[in-house]
């Protein structure tokens, strides 16, 4: 798409780049999973309206 794009961490090696991006994505999945999918009652109740409003499986 854009070959000359400015990268966010231009100096990092490609392996370290992969690890850092994967870590960030994993953190995102974890946060989303905890708020949206956790079976803990208190978490479910706190985020109840959110889960319904996002079309997440609820109840």
């Amino acid at each position: 798409m854009n070959t000359a794009s400015v990268s966010l961490g231009a100096s990092v090696s490609s392996q370290s780049r992969f690890v850092q991006l994967a870590l960030a994505a994993f953190l995102g999945v974890f946060v989303m999973g905890f708020v949206g999918f956790s079976h803990i009652d208190a978490v479910h109740n706190a985020a109840h309206d959110y889960r319904h409003s996002m079309g997440f499986p609820c109840h």
């Binding site: 400015v6 966010l8 953190l27 989303m32 009652d41 309206d49 996002m54 499986p57 609820c58 109840h59």
Partner: protein, 253 residues
Amino acid sequence: MTLFRNVVFIAAIAGLVAGVVLACMQAFATVPLILKAEVYEQAGGGHTHDHIAANTTDANAMSRAEPGEAAVPEDEGWAPADGFERFTFNVVANVVTGIGFALILVAASEFAGGIGNWRQGVFWGFAGFAVFTLAPNLGLPPELPAMPAADLSQRQIWWTATVVVTAAGLGLLAFRKSLPLAVIAVALIVAPHIVGAPQPDSFESPIPERLHHQFVVAVTLTNLAFWLVLGAVVGLVRGRLSGTATGLRDSLA
């Protein structure tokens, strides 16, 4: 860890902005419908979530979670008080998961070269909308309280699998210039809908069809706006962070 730090920084700003925007839209568009549905839920015998008990005779019963879990009514325990407290928790949930979605969006887009400007961000946001809202909601339409639904864990598994294969399919379509891979991509996107989402035993619902339809439209549109704002803000913040060169040079088409 500069890259990680930058990704988190961008995601935090974008998630905060898009999460607050979504929470405000929900306060007008979806939450009033949820409250209306709860009136029907109370009227229907007062016991909330009774469809869970009905599901123990589900055809998929063998693969469901341990019965003890289903027997416990899920609405017990602490819950935020109606009104301001409930609204506040909804805002917090929106911001926290907004940052979560933003982390996924930024990390995924960095693998593909990064979101250069707000316009590219809108397209990435649209992809996020297709993956996280459109695809799973085709099989599992957004439900209102008291609506019949299949076992929760089964639905969560289907939801997650649909998101993963739809994302993989879109990624293949967008970034691999090969016809066989494009065919596989379409197959991936279609597959979860051929398998089919877990369905409830009975579709009998105390919720009027019109109310539910209104809710589905509200959820879809608010999520669309959320994802477009999220992508656009990622593009704007990233452009600032990585210098003006990106923002000036790039255009998607």
